[in-house]
Amino acid sequence: MPGLETAALPDRLSQWDCRNNRLAWRGLVSDGFIDAVKAARSRYGADRIAVVVGTSTSSIGASEEAYTRLDPDGRYPADLRRPIIHTPHSIGNFVQHALGLEGTSVTVATACSSSAKVFAQAERMIRCGLADAAVVGGVDTLCGSVLFGFNSLELVSPDRCQPFDVARRGINLGEAAGFALLEREAFAGSWLLGYGESNDAHHMSSPHPEGRGARLALQAALKLAAIQPGEIDYINLHGTASHKNDEVEALVVAETFPESTFASSTKGWTGHTLGAAGIVEAAISLLALEHGVLPGTLNLDTPDPACGPQIQRENAQRDARRALSFSFGFGGSNCVLAFGRSDLGAAR
Protein backbone atom coordinates (compact mmCIF):
# COMPACT_ATOMS: atom_id res chain seq x y z
CA MET A 1 0.00 0.00 0.00
CA PRO A 2 1.82 3.12 -1.17
CA GLY A 3 2.28 6.29 0.87
CA LEU A 4 1.83 4.86 4.38
CA GLU A 5 5.46 5.58 5.28
CA THR A 6 4.85 9.33 4.97
CA ALA A 7 1.27 9.40 6.32
CA ALA A 8 1.72 9.77 10.09
CA LEU A 9 -1.35 9.56 12.31
CA PRO A 10 -2.93 12.78 13.63
CA ASP A 11 -1.10 14.13 16.72
CA ARG A 12 -3.81 13.05 19.15
CA LEU A 13 -3.25 9.44 18.00
CA SER A 14 0.55 9.52 17.82
CA GLN A 15 0.86 6.96 20.61
CA TRP A 16 -0.51 4.33 18.17
CA ASP A 17 1.55 5.42 15.18
CA CYS A 18 2.88 2.48 13.15
CA ARG A 19 2.36 1.19 9.64
CA ASN A 20 -0.54 -1.14 10.50
CA ASN A 21 -2.49 1.54 12.39
CA ARG A 22 -1.80 4.02 9.56
CA LEU A 23 -3.53 1.66 7.17
CA ALA A 24 -6.35 1.27 9.70
CA TRP A 25 -6.70 5.06 9.79
CA ARG A 26 -6.80 5.22 6.00
CA GLY A 27 -9.68 2.76 6.15
CA LEU A 28 -11.52 4.64 8.89
CA VAL A 29 -11.42 7.98 7.01
CA SER A 30 -12.73 6.37 3.79
CA ASP A 31 -16.29 6.25 2.48
CA GLY A 32 -17.85 8.37 5.23
CA PHE A 33 -17.25 5.69 7.85
CA ILE A 34 -16.21 8.08 10.62
CA ASP A 35 -19.36 10.14 10.08
CA ALA A 36 -21.49 7.01 10.24
CA VAL A 37 -19.87 6.08 13.56
CA LYS A 38 -20.33 9.64 14.85
CA ALA A 39 -24.03 9.44 14.05
CA ALA A 40 -24.27 6.07 15.79
CA ARG A 41 -22.40 7.51 18.78
CA SER A 42 -24.97 10.26 19.15
CA ARG A 43 -27.81 7.73 18.75
CA TYR A 44 -26.59 5.12 21.22
CA GLY A 45 -23.80 6.70 23.31
CA ALA A 46 -20.07 6.09 23.02
CA ASP A 47 -20.15 3.30 25.60
CA ARG A 48 -22.85 1.32 23.79
CA ILE A 49 -20.78 0.75 20.65
CA ALA A 50 -18.36 -2.17 20.86
CA VAL A 51 -15.21 -2.56 18.81
CA VAL A 52 -14.46 -6.06 17.50
CA VAL A 53 -11.69 -6.09 14.91
CA GLY A 54 -9.57 -8.83 13.42
CA THR A 55 -5.94 -9.13 12.44
CA SER A 56 -3.34 -11.76 11.84
CA THR A 57 -0.16 -9.94 12.83
CA SER A 58 -1.46 -6.57 14.12
CA SER A 59 1.54 -4.21 14.37
CA ILE A 60 4.28 -6.82 14.87
CA GLY A 61 6.02 -4.95 12.02
CA ALA A 62 6.86 -2.23 14.58
CA SER A 63 8.51 -4.84 16.85
CA GLU A 64 10.41 -6.25 13.88
CA GLU A 65 11.69 -2.75 13.11
CA ALA A 66 12.74 -2.23 16.75
CA TYR A 67 14.87 -5.38 16.60
CA THR A 68 16.84 -3.90 13.70
CA ARG A 69 17.57 -0.74 15.73
CA LEU A 70 18.16 -1.99 19.30
CA ASP A 71 20.33 0.31 21.43
CA PRO A 72 23.67 -0.93 22.83
CA ASP A 73 21.87 -2.20 25.95
CA GLY A 74 19.56 -4.33 23.81
CA ARG A 75 16.54 -2.07 24.38
CA TYR A 76 14.07 -0.71 21.85
CA PRO A 77 14.93 2.63 20.21
CA ALA A 78 13.25 5.51 22.06
CA ASP A 79 10.70 6.22 19.30
CA LEU A 80 9.34 2.66 19.49
CA ARG A 81 9.12 2.34 23.30
CA ARG A 82 5.32 2.37 23.15
CA PRO A 83 3.94 -0.88 24.63
CA ILE A 84 0.54 -0.62 22.94
CA ILE A 85 1.99 -1.12 19.44
CA HIS A 86 3.91 -4.24 20.47
CA THR A 87 0.93 -6.35 21.48
CA PRO A 88 -1.85 -7.98 19.40
CA HIS A 89 -4.54 -5.60 20.69
CA SER A 90 -2.73 -2.63 19.11
CA ILE A 91 -5.34 -2.56 16.34
CA GLY A 92 -8.47 -2.89 18.51
CA ASN A 93 -7.22 -0.33 21.01
CA PHE A 94 -6.32 2.09 18.21
CA VAL A 95 -9.70 1.80 16.47
CA GLN A 96 -11.54 2.39 19.74
CA HIS A 97 -9.57 5.53 20.55
CA ALA A 98 -9.55 6.83 16.98
CA LEU A 99 -13.36 6.65 16.92
CA GLY A 100 -13.86 8.02 20.45
CA LEU A 101 -15.70 4.90 21.60
CA GLU A 102 -15.94 3.79 25.24
CA GLY A 103 -17.49 0.32 25.23
CA THR A 104 -15.62 -2.94 25.11
CA SER A 105 -12.88 -3.38 22.55
CA VAL A 106 -11.53 -6.77 21.51
CA THR A 107 -9.07 -7.94 18.88
CA VAL A 108 -9.81 -11.29 17.27
CA ALA A 109 -6.71 -13.06 15.96
CA THR A 110 -7.56 -16.39 14.35
CA ALA A 111 -5.30 -15.88 11.31
CA CYS A 112 -7.18 -15.59 8.01
CA SER A 113 -10.68 -16.04 9.47
CA SER A 114 -10.20 -13.15 11.95
CA SER A 115 -12.23 -10.39 10.34
CA ALA A 116 -15.05 -12.74 9.37
CA LYS A 117 -15.40 -14.02 12.94
CA VAL A 118 -15.71 -10.44 14.22
CA PHE A 119 -19.22 -10.33 12.70
CA ALA A 120 -20.21 -13.36 14.77
CA GLN A 121 -18.79 -12.04 18.03
CA ALA A 122 -20.34 -8.61 17.51
CA GLU A 123 -23.76 -10.05 16.61
CA ARG A 124 -23.78 -12.10 19.82
CA MET A 125 -22.84 -9.05 21.90
CA ILE A 126 -25.67 -7.01 20.38
CA ARG A 127 -28.17 -9.89 20.67
CA CYS A 128 -27.34 -10.29 24.38
CA GLY A 129 -27.87 -6.57 24.94
CA LEU A 130 -24.26 -5.73 25.79
CA ALA A 131 -24.00 -3.24 22.94
CA ASP A 132 -26.42 -1.45 20.63
CA ALA A 133 -23.96 -1.38 17.76
CA ALA A 134 -20.47 -2.57 16.93
CA VAL A 135 -17.63 -1.45 14.74
CA VAL A 136 -16.28 -4.60 13.12
CA GLY A 137 -13.45 -4.94 10.65
CA GLY A 138 -9.92 -6.03 10.10
CA VAL A 139 -6.48 -4.74 9.19
CA ASP A 140 -3.28 -6.45 8.10
CA THR A 141 -0.12 -5.05 6.58
CA LEU A 142 2.91 -6.83 5.22
CA CYS A 143 5.68 -7.54 7.68
CA GLY A 144 8.76 -9.71 7.74
CA SER A 145 7.09 -12.49 9.73
CA VAL A 146 4.39 -12.93 7.10
CA LEU A 147 6.60 -12.41 4.06
CA PHE A 148 9.35 -14.81 5.10
CA GLY A 149 6.92 -17.11 6.95
CA PHE A 150 4.70 -17.78 3.94
CA ASN A 151 7.79 -18.16 1.78
CA SER A 152 9.19 -20.74 4.21
CA LEU A 153 5.96 -22.72 3.80
CA GLU A 154 6.37 -22.46 0.02
CA LEU A 155 2.86 -21.05 -0.31
CA VAL A 156 3.75 -17.85 -2.20
CA SER A 157 3.37 -17.74 -5.97
CA PRO A 158 6.32 -16.36 -7.93
CA ASP A 159 3.74 -14.97 -10.37
CA ARG A 160 0.29 -13.34 -10.18
CA CYS A 161 -2.02 -15.59 -8.15
CA GLN A 162 -4.51 -17.66 -10.16
CA PRO A 163 -7.36 -18.80 -7.93
CA PHE A 164 -8.93 -22.12 -9.00
CA ASP A 165 -6.69 -22.36 -12.05
CA VAL A 166 -5.16 -25.72 -12.82
CA ALA A 167 -1.76 -24.00 -13.08
CA ARG A 168 -2.02 -22.00 -9.82
CA ARG A 169 1.25 -21.69 -7.93
CA GLY A 170 0.26 -20.16 -4.61
CA ILE A 171 -0.89 -16.96 -2.98
CA ASN A 172 -0.06 -13.29 -3.47
CA LEU A 173 0.16 -11.39 -0.20
CA GLY A 174 -1.97 -8.25 0.08
CA GLU A 175 -2.61 -5.45 2.54
CA ALA A 176 -6.00 -4.08 3.51
CA ALA A 177 -8.13 -2.31 6.08
CA GLY A 178 -11.90 -2.54 6.16
CA PHE A 179 -14.68 -1.70 8.60
CA ALA A 180 -18.43 -2.09 8.96
CA LEU A 181 -20.94 -0.68 11.42
CA LEU A 182 -23.24 -3.38 12.71
CA GLU A 183 -26.59 -2.36 14.24
CA ARG A 184 -29.68 -4.25 15.33
CA GLU A 185 -31.95 -2.04 13.22
CA ALA A 186 -30.74 0.20 10.45
CA PHE A 187 -32.36 2.90 8.33
CA ALA A 188 -30.43 1.71 5.32
CA GLY A 189 -27.94 -0.98 4.52
CA SER A 190 -27.66 -4.69 4.05
CA TRP A 191 -28.26 -7.47 6.55
CA LEU A 192 -26.06 -10.01 8.27
CA LEU A 193 -28.39 -13.01 7.91
CA GLY A 194 -26.19 -15.57 9.64
CA TYR A 195 -22.75 -16.95 10.24
CA GLY A 196 -21.13 -20.29 10.86
CA GLU A 197 -17.87 -21.05 12.64
CA SER A 198 -15.99 -24.32 12.91
CA ASN A 199 -12.56 -25.91 13.04
CA ASP A 200 -10.98 -28.54 10.88
CA ALA A 201 -9.30 -30.28 13.85
CA HIS A 202 -6.81 -31.49 11.27
CA HIS A 203 -3.57 -29.51 10.75
CA MET A 204 -2.05 -26.14 11.68
CA SER A 205 -1.34 -24.92 8.15
CA SER A 206 -3.15 -27.25 5.77
CA PRO A 207 -6.91 -27.62 5.25
CA HIS A 208 -8.81 -30.85 5.91
CA PRO A 209 -8.67 -32.86 2.65
CA GLU A 210 -12.47 -33.26 2.45
CA GLY A 211 -13.21 -29.78 3.75
CA ARG A 212 -14.79 -31.10 6.95
CA GLY A 213 -14.61 -27.81 8.84
CA ALA A 214 -15.58 -25.73 5.82
CA ARG A 215 -18.75 -27.80 5.37
CA LEU A 216 -19.64 -27.47 9.07
CA ALA A 217 -19.24 -23.69 8.97
CA LEU A 218 -21.30 -23.49 5.78
CA GLN A 219 -24.09 -25.63 7.22
CA ALA A 220 -24.15 -23.59 10.42
CA ALA A 221 -24.38 -20.31 8.49
CA LEU A 222 -27.24 -21.57 6.31
CA LYS A 223 -29.06 -22.89 9.37
CA LEU A 224 -28.73 -19.66 11.35
CA ALA A 225 -29.85 -17.65 8.31
CA ALA A 226 -32.69 -20.17 7.71
CA ILE A 227 -31.89 -20.39 4.00
CA GLN A 228 -31.24 -23.21 1.52
CA PRO A 229 -28.18 -23.45 -0.75
CA GLY A 230 -30.44 -22.74 -3.76
CA GLU A 231 -31.32 -19.32 -2.34
CA ILE A 232 -27.70 -18.15 -2.51
CA ASP A 233 -27.04 -15.92 -5.52
CA TYR A 234 -23.36 -15.15 -4.98
CA ILE A 235 -20.48 -16.74 -3.06
CA ASN A 236 -17.21 -14.93 -2.46
CA LEU A 237 -14.86 -17.87 -1.99
CA HIS A 238 -11.72 -17.97 0.12
CA GLY A 239 -9.91 -18.92 -3.13
CA THR A 240 -6.35 -18.10 -2.10
CA ALA A 241 -4.80 -19.86 -5.14
CA SER A 242 -2.93 -22.21 -2.83
CA HIS A 243 -3.00 -25.71 -4.24
CA LYS A 244 -4.85 -27.35 -1.35
CA ASN A 245 -7.33 -24.66 -0.40
CA ASP A 246 -8.78 -24.20 -3.85
CA GLU A 247 -9.12 -27.92 -4.52
CA VAL A 248 -10.97 -28.56 -1.26
CA GLU A 249 -13.14 -25.47 -1.56
CA ALA A 250 -14.08 -26.23 -5.17
CA LEU A 251 -15.26 -29.70 -4.10
CA VAL A 252 -17.39 -28.31 -1.27
CA VAL A 253 -19.04 -25.78 -3.61
CA ALA A 254 -19.63 -28.31 -6.40
CA GLU A 255 -21.29 -30.72 -3.97
CA THR A 256 -23.42 -28.21 -2.07
CA PHE A 257 -24.80 -25.67 -4.54
CA PRO A 258 -26.92 -25.83 -7.69
CA GLU A 259 -25.23 -25.10 -11.01
CA SER A 260 -26.88 -21.68 -11.12
CA THR A 261 -25.05 -20.34 -8.04
CA PHE A 262 -22.40 -17.79 -9.04
CA ALA A 263 -19.14 -18.21 -7.11
CA SER A 264 -15.77 -16.51 -7.46
CA SER A 265 -12.53 -15.60 -5.73
CA THR A 266 -11.58 -11.92 -5.79
CA LYS A 267 -8.03 -12.49 -4.55
CA GLY A 268 -6.68 -11.95 -8.07
CA TRP A 269 -7.50 -8.27 -7.49
CA THR A 270 -6.66 -7.92 -3.79
CA GLY A 271 -4.13 -10.63 -3.04
CA HIS A 272 -4.61 -12.54 0.19
CA THR A 273 -5.02 -9.87 2.83
CA LEU A 274 -4.86 -12.48 5.64
CA GLY A 275 -6.57 -11.16 8.78
CA ALA A 276 -8.29 -8.49 6.69
CA ALA A 277 -9.59 -10.93 4.06
CA GLY A 278 -12.87 -11.50 5.91
CA ILE A 279 -13.89 -7.86 5.96
CA VAL A 280 -12.58 -7.14 2.44
CA GLU A 281 -14.62 -9.98 0.99
CA ALA A 282 -17.65 -9.16 3.14
CA ALA A 283 -17.50 -5.66 1.63
CA ILE A 284 -17.20 -7.06 -1.91
CA SER A 285 -20.16 -9.38 -1.27
CA LEU A 286 -22.25 -6.45 0.00
CA LEU A 287 -21.30 -4.35 -3.04
CA ALA A 288 -22.27 -7.25 -5.31
CA LEU A 289 -25.73 -7.36 -3.72
CA GLU A 290 -26.16 -3.59 -3.80
CA HIS A 291 -25.12 -3.08 -7.43
CA GLY A 292 -26.12 -6.40 -8.98
CA VAL A 293 -22.61 -6.79 -10.32
CA LEU A 294 -21.00 -10.11 -9.46
CA PRO A 295 -17.21 -10.19 -9.70
CA GLY A 296 -15.61 -13.07 -11.58
CA THR A 297 -12.22 -14.64 -10.86
CA LEU A 298 -9.31 -12.59 -12.15
CA ASN A 299 -6.39 -14.62 -13.58
CA LEU A 300 -8.47 -17.80 -13.89
CA ASP A 301 -7.69 -19.27 -17.32
CA THR A 302 -8.16 -23.04 -17.10
CA PRO A 303 -10.31 -24.19 -14.16
CA ASP A 304 -9.02 -26.97 -11.92
CA PRO A 305 -10.88 -30.26 -12.62
CA ALA A 306 -12.35 -30.00 -9.11
CA CYS A 307 -14.28 -26.87 -10.08
CA GLY A 308 -17.99 -27.14 -10.74
CA PRO A 309 -19.94 -24.81 -13.04
CA GLN A 310 -20.52 -22.45 -10.09
CA ILE A 311 -17.01 -20.99 -10.21
CA GLN A 312 -17.04 -18.16 -12.73
CA ARG A 313 -14.29 -16.37 -14.59
CA GLU A 314 -16.12 -13.34 -16.00
CA ASN A 315 -17.94 -10.59 -14.14
CA ALA A 316 -21.70 -10.69 -14.52
CA GLN A 317 -24.56 -8.27 -14.14
CA ARG A 318 -27.21 -10.16 -12.25
CA ASP A 319 -29.86 -9.43 -9.65
CA ALA A 320 -28.59 -10.91 -6.38
CA ARG A 321 -30.35 -10.97 -3.01
CA ARG A 322 -28.25 -13.24 -0.83
CA ALA A 323 -24.50 -13.79 -0.66
CA LEU A 324 -22.06 -15.92 1.29
CA SER A 325 -18.45 -15.11 2.08
CA PHE A 326 -16.01 -17.90 3.00
CA SER A 327 -12.92 -17.38 5.19
CA PHE A 328 -10.56 -20.16 6.27
CA GLY A 329 -7.40 -19.78 8.30
CA PHE A 330 -4.33 -21.38 9.86
CA GLY A 331 -5.11 -23.49 12.87
CA GLY A 332 -8.06 -24.84 10.86
CA SER A 333 -10.31 -21.91 11.76
CA ASN A 334 -13.29 -21.46 9.43
CA CYS A 335 -16.02 -18.85 9.18
CA VAL A 336 -18.84 -18.42 6.67
CA LEU A 337 -20.93 -15.22 6.63
CA ALA A 338 -24.39 -14.87 5.07
CA PHE A 339 -25.57 -11.45 3.88
CA GLY A 340 -28.88 -10.20 2.52
CA ARG A 341 -29.63 -7.18 0.34
CA SER A 342 -31.10 -4.12 2.07
CA ASP A 343 -34.63 -4.72 0.71
CA LEU A 344 -34.69 -8.27 2.02
CA GLY A 345 -35.36 -7.57 5.69
CA ALA A 346 -33.70 -9.41 8.52
CA ALA A 347 -34.13 -13.15 8.51
CA ARG A 348 -34.99 -13.09 12.16
Binding site: I60, E64, A66, H89, E102, A111, R124, C128, S198, G213
Partner: protein, 263 residues
Amino acid sequence: MKSIGPLAIEGIAFWSSRLPGWDIARSVIRGEQPAPAAPSSRPAPALLAPTERRRAPDTVAVALEVASRACESAGLAPAALPSVFASTHGDLAISDHMCATLASAPTLISPIKFHNSVHNAAAGYWSIGTGSTAPYTAISAFHYTFAAGLLETAIQVISGEQPVLYVAFDIEAKGALATVAPSRGLLGVALALSLSPKNLSRRMTLRVQDGAAATAATSPAAALVADNALAPCLPLFECLAKDQAAGIDLALSDNKILSVTLD
Protein backbone atom coordinates in the same frame (compact mmCIF):
# COMPACT_ATOMS: atom_id res chain seq x y z
CA MET B 1 -26.76 -2.38 33.04
CA LYS B 2 -27.86 -5.75 31.78
CA SER B 3 -26.63 -8.79 33.68
CA ILE B 4 -25.53 -12.11 32.22
CA GLY B 5 -26.23 -15.26 34.10
CA PRO B 6 -26.39 -16.96 36.41
CA LEU B 7 -23.96 -19.32 34.76
CA ALA B 8 -22.73 -22.53 36.33
CA ILE B 9 -19.00 -22.93 36.83
CA GLU B 10 -18.66 -26.61 35.95
CA GLY B 11 -14.87 -26.84 35.82
CA ILE B 12 -11.88 -24.85 37.10
CA ALA B 13 -8.21 -25.16 36.22
CA PHE B 14 -5.13 -23.13 37.15
CA TRP B 15 -1.44 -23.56 36.40
CA SER B 16 1.38 -21.16 37.11
CA SER B 17 5.10 -21.74 37.45
CA ARG B 18 4.89 -21.15 41.21
CA LEU B 19 1.42 -22.70 41.69
CA PRO B 20 1.33 -25.76 39.43
CA GLY B 21 -2.31 -26.87 39.57
CA TRP B 22 -5.61 -25.73 41.04
CA ASP B 23 -5.35 -27.87 44.20
CA ILE B 24 -2.06 -26.24 45.19
CA ALA B 25 -3.17 -22.77 44.10
CA ARG B 26 -6.39 -23.09 46.11
CA SER B 27 -4.55 -24.19 49.27
CA VAL B 28 -2.01 -21.37 48.96
CA ILE B 29 -4.77 -18.81 48.36
CA ARG B 30 -6.57 -20.08 51.47
CA GLY B 31 -3.36 -19.85 53.47
CA GLU B 32 -3.44 -23.59 54.17
CA GLN B 33 0.04 -24.30 52.81
CA PRO B 34 3.04 -22.32 51.64
CA ALA B 35 3.84 -22.13 47.94
CA PRO B 36 6.43 -24.61 46.67
CA ALA B 37 9.88 -23.09 47.17
CA ALA B 38 11.00 -23.54 43.56
CA PRO B 39 9.15 -22.89 40.33
CA SER B 40 7.92 -25.93 38.42
CA SER B 41 9.04 -26.79 34.94
CA ARG B 42 6.31 -26.35 32.37
CA PRO B 43 3.36 -28.76 32.21
CA ALA B 44 3.35 -31.70 29.79
CA PRO B 45 -0.23 -32.06 28.56
CA ALA B 46 -1.20 -35.68 27.99
CA LEU B 47 -3.19 -34.53 24.96
CA LEU B 48 0.00 -34.17 22.92
CA ALA B 49 2.06 -37.09 21.62
CA PRO B 50 5.40 -37.41 23.48
CA THR B 51 7.43 -35.86 20.62
CA GLU B 52 4.95 -33.00 20.25
CA ARG B 53 5.02 -32.48 24.02
CA ARG B 54 8.71 -31.62 23.89
CA ARG B 55 8.45 -29.42 20.81
CA ALA B 56 5.26 -27.57 21.75
CA PRO B 57 5.63 -23.86 22.49
CA ASP B 58 5.07 -22.77 26.12
CA THR B 59 1.74 -21.17 25.15
CA VAL B 60 0.47 -24.49 23.82
CA ALA B 61 1.78 -26.48 26.80
CA VAL B 62 0.16 -24.29 29.46
CA ALA B 63 -3.08 -23.68 27.52
CA LEU B 64 -3.67 -27.35 26.77
CA GLU B 65 -2.88 -28.32 30.37
CA VAL B 66 -5.53 -26.04 31.89
CA ALA B 67 -8.03 -26.71 29.08
CA SER B 68 -7.81 -30.47 29.71
CA ARG B 69 -8.03 -30.08 33.49
CA ALA B 70 -11.08 -27.84 33.32
CA CYS B 71 -12.90 -30.33 31.09
CA GLU B 72 -11.92 -33.18 33.44
CA SER B 73 -13.16 -31.37 36.51
CA ALA B 74 -16.40 -30.50 34.71
CA GLY B 75 -16.88 -34.02 33.43
CA LEU B 76 -17.42 -32.59 29.95
CA ALA B 77 -16.10 -34.13 26.73
CA PRO B 78 -13.71 -31.61 25.12
CA ALA B 79 -14.73 -32.48 21.57
CA ALA B 80 -18.22 -31.05 21.98
CA LEU B 81 -17.22 -27.75 23.59
CA PRO B 82 -16.88 -24.42 21.78
CA SER B 83 -13.93 -22.56 23.25
CA VAL B 84 -12.59 -19.05 23.81
CA PHE B 85 -8.81 -18.67 24.01
CA ALA B 86 -7.52 -15.36 25.37
CA SER B 87 -3.95 -14.17 25.71
CA THR B 88 -2.62 -10.68 26.27
CA HIS B 89 0.51 -11.04 24.19
CA GLY B 90 0.31 -14.48 22.58
CA ASP B 91 3.57 -16.38 22.22
CA LEU B 92 6.15 -13.83 23.39
CA ALA B 93 9.01 -16.32 22.99
CA ILE B 94 8.20 -17.05 19.35
CA SER B 95 7.66 -13.34 18.63
CA ASP B 96 11.13 -12.61 20.06
CA HIS B 97 12.62 -15.44 18.03
CA MET B 98 10.90 -14.27 14.82
CA CYS B 99 11.94 -10.62 15.31
CA ALA B 100 15.54 -11.58 16.11
CA THR B 101 15.76 -13.96 13.13
CA LEU B 102 14.24 -11.37 10.79
CA ALA B 103 16.80 -8.81 11.97
CA SER B 104 19.75 -11.14 11.39
CA ALA B 105 18.94 -13.83 8.81
CA PRO B 106 15.33 -13.54 7.60
CA THR B 107 15.46 -16.46 5.18
CA LEU B 108 16.07 -18.76 8.15
CA ILE B 109 12.50 -18.30 9.46
CA SER B 110 11.23 -21.80 10.14
CA PRO B 111 7.84 -22.81 8.74
CA ILE B 112 6.87 -24.45 12.04
CA LYS B 113 7.84 -21.37 14.07
CA PHE B 114 5.79 -19.31 11.62
CA HIS B 115 2.59 -21.31 11.92
CA ASN B 116 3.10 -21.56 15.67
CA SER B 117 3.36 -17.76 15.82
CA VAL B 118 -0.34 -17.18 15.06
CA HIS B 119 -2.38 -16.04 18.03
CA ASN B 120 -4.71 -19.04 17.59
CA ALA B 121 -1.91 -21.64 17.71
CA ALA B 122 -2.90 -22.98 21.15
CA ALA B 123 -6.55 -23.10 20.10
CA GLY B 124 -5.55 -24.87 16.90
CA TYR B 125 -3.52 -27.53 18.74
CA TRP B 126 -6.40 -27.96 21.20
CA SER B 127 -8.90 -28.61 18.40
CA ILE B 128 -6.50 -31.00 16.65
CA GLY B 129 -5.63 -32.83 19.90
CA THR B 130 -9.25 -33.24 21.00
CA GLY B 131 -10.69 -33.70 17.51
CA SER B 132 -13.05 -30.86 18.27
CA THR B 133 -14.67 -29.15 15.29
CA ALA B 134 -16.72 -26.95 17.62
CA PRO B 135 -15.80 -23.29 17.04
CA TYR B 136 -12.93 -21.73 18.92
CA THR B 137 -11.86 -18.12 18.93
CA ALA B 138 -8.60 -16.45 19.95
CA ILE B 139 -8.67 -12.91 21.28
CA SER B 140 -6.63 -10.21 22.98
CA ALA B 141 -7.59 -6.97 24.72
CA PHE B 142 -4.25 -5.85 26.26
CA HIS B 143 -4.70 -5.23 30.02
CA TYR B 144 -8.38 -6.17 29.73
CA THR B 145 -7.81 -9.53 28.07
CA PHE B 146 -9.02 -11.77 30.92
CA ALA B 147 -12.28 -9.88 31.45
CA ALA B 148 -12.95 -9.57 27.71
CA GLY B 149 -12.49 -13.32 27.26
CA LEU B 150 -14.70 -14.14 30.25
CA LEU B 151 -17.44 -11.87 28.88
CA GLU B 152 -17.23 -13.44 25.40
CA THR B 153 -17.41 -16.92 26.95
CA ALA B 154 -20.50 -15.99 28.97
CA ILE B 155 -22.14 -14.48 25.88
CA GLN B 156 -21.47 -17.67 23.94
CA VAL B 157 -22.99 -19.81 26.71
CA ILE B 158 -26.15 -17.66 26.73
CA SER B 159 -26.51 -17.22 22.97
CA GLY B 160 -25.63 -20.81 22.08
CA GLU B 161 -27.37 -22.37 25.08
CA GLN B 162 -24.52 -24.81 25.57
CA PRO B 163 -21.40 -25.20 27.76
CA VAL B 164 -18.31 -23.27 26.62
CA LEU B 165 -14.67 -23.65 27.63
CA TYR B 166 -12.67 -20.54 28.51
CA VAL B 167 -8.87 -20.71 28.42
CA ALA B 168 -6.59 -17.75 29.21
CA PHE B 169 -2.80 -17.72 29.34
CA ASP B 170 0.35 -15.64 29.14
CA ILE B 171 3.95 -16.77 29.16
CA GLU B 172 7.39 -15.35 29.91
CA ALA B 173 8.66 -12.60 27.64
CA LYS B 174 12.09 -13.04 26.06
CA GLY B 175 14.70 -10.71 24.63
CA ALA B 176 14.13 -7.06 23.86
CA LEU B 177 10.37 -7.60 23.55
CA ALA B 178 10.34 -8.12 27.34
CA THR B 179 11.07 -4.39 27.81
CA VAL B 180 7.77 -3.35 26.16
CA ALA B 181 5.61 -6.45 26.80
CA PRO B 182 6.77 -7.61 30.22
CA SER B 183 5.52 -10.94 31.52
CA ARG B 184 7.21 -13.50 33.79
CA GLY B 185 6.65 -17.21 34.26
CA LEU B 186 3.75 -19.18 32.83
CA LEU B 187 0.16 -18.60 33.91
CA GLY B 188 -2.83 -20.42 32.49
CA VAL B 189 -6.40 -20.61 33.76
CA ALA B 190 -9.52 -22.27 32.42
CA LEU B 191 -13.21 -22.39 33.27
CA ALA B 192 -15.99 -24.54 31.86
CA LEU B 193 -19.23 -22.55 32.03
CA SER B 194 -22.77 -23.73 31.37
CA LEU B 195 -26.39 -22.75 31.76
CA SER B 196 -27.64 -25.73 33.71
CA PRO B 197 -25.76 -26.22 36.96
CA LYS B 198 -24.97 -29.58 38.40
CA ASN B 199 -25.59 -29.89 42.12
CA LEU B 200 -22.14 -28.94 43.26
CA SER B 201 -21.24 -26.27 40.77
CA ARG B 202 -20.99 -22.64 41.80
CA ARG B 203 -22.92 -19.95 40.02
CA MET B 204 -21.62 -16.72 38.55
CA THR B 205 -23.41 -13.59 37.35
CA LEU B 206 -21.68 -10.91 35.26
CA ARG B 207 -22.53 -7.23 34.92
CA VAL B 208 -20.84 -4.56 32.83
CA GLN B 209 -20.73 -1.32 34.84
CA ASP B 210 -19.11 2.10 34.83
CA GLY B 211 -15.90 2.27 36.80
CA ALA B 212 -12.19 1.86 36.55
CA ALA B 213 -11.18 0.35 39.89
CA ALA B 214 -10.64 -3.39 39.69
CA THR B 215 -10.53 -5.56 42.79
CA ALA B 216 -6.96 -6.10 43.92
CA ALA B 217 -5.59 -9.57 44.59
CA THR B 218 -4.90 -9.98 48.30
CA SER B 219 -4.01 -13.62 48.91
CA PRO B 220 -0.55 -15.13 49.39
CA ALA B 221 -0.78 -16.17 45.71
CA ALA B 222 -0.80 -12.57 44.52
CA ALA B 223 2.96 -12.03 44.67
CA LEU B 224 3.55 -15.33 42.87
CA VAL B 225 1.76 -14.34 39.67
CA ALA B 226 1.87 -10.52 39.85
CA ASP B 227 4.50 -10.16 37.14
CA ASN B 228 2.65 -12.28 34.56
CA ALA B 229 0.57 -10.34 32.02
CA LEU B 230 -2.50 -12.39 32.93
CA ALA B 231 -2.27 -11.50 36.65
CA PRO B 232 -5.58 -9.54 36.49
CA CYS B 233 -7.36 -12.93 36.50
CA LEU B 234 -6.24 -13.77 40.06
CA PRO B 235 -8.98 -12.00 42.08
CA LEU B 236 -11.60 -14.25 40.46
CA PHE B 237 -9.64 -17.37 41.39
CA GLU B 238 -9.19 -16.07 44.94
CA CYS B 239 -12.99 -15.95 45.18
CA LEU B 240 -13.33 -19.41 43.70
CA ALA B 241 -10.80 -20.79 46.18
CA LYS B 242 -12.81 -19.52 49.12
CA ASP B 243 -16.11 -21.34 49.01
CA GLN B 244 -18.25 -18.37 49.95
CA ALA B 245 -20.44 -15.84 48.21
CA ALA B 246 -18.40 -12.90 46.96
CA GLY B 247 -18.19 -10.20 44.35
CA ILE B 248 -15.21 -8.82 42.48
CA ASP B 249 -14.63 -6.29 39.73
CA LEU B 250 -12.40 -7.03 36.73
CA ALA B 251 -11.23 -4.17 34.49
CA LEU B 252 -12.94 -4.45 31.07
CA SER B 253 -11.88 -1.13 29.50
CA ASP B 254 -10.51 2.25 30.57
CA ASN B 255 -13.87 3.12 32.10
CA LYS B 256 -15.85 -0.13 32.39
CA ILE B 257 -15.63 -2.96 34.87
CA LEU B 258 -16.96 -6.47 34.65
CA SER B 259 -18.58 -7.16 38.03
CA VAL B 260 -18.60 -10.84 38.89
CA THR B 261 -20.89 -12.14 41.61
CA LEU B 262 -20.36 -15.67 42.91
CA ASP B 263 -22.93 -17.40 45.04
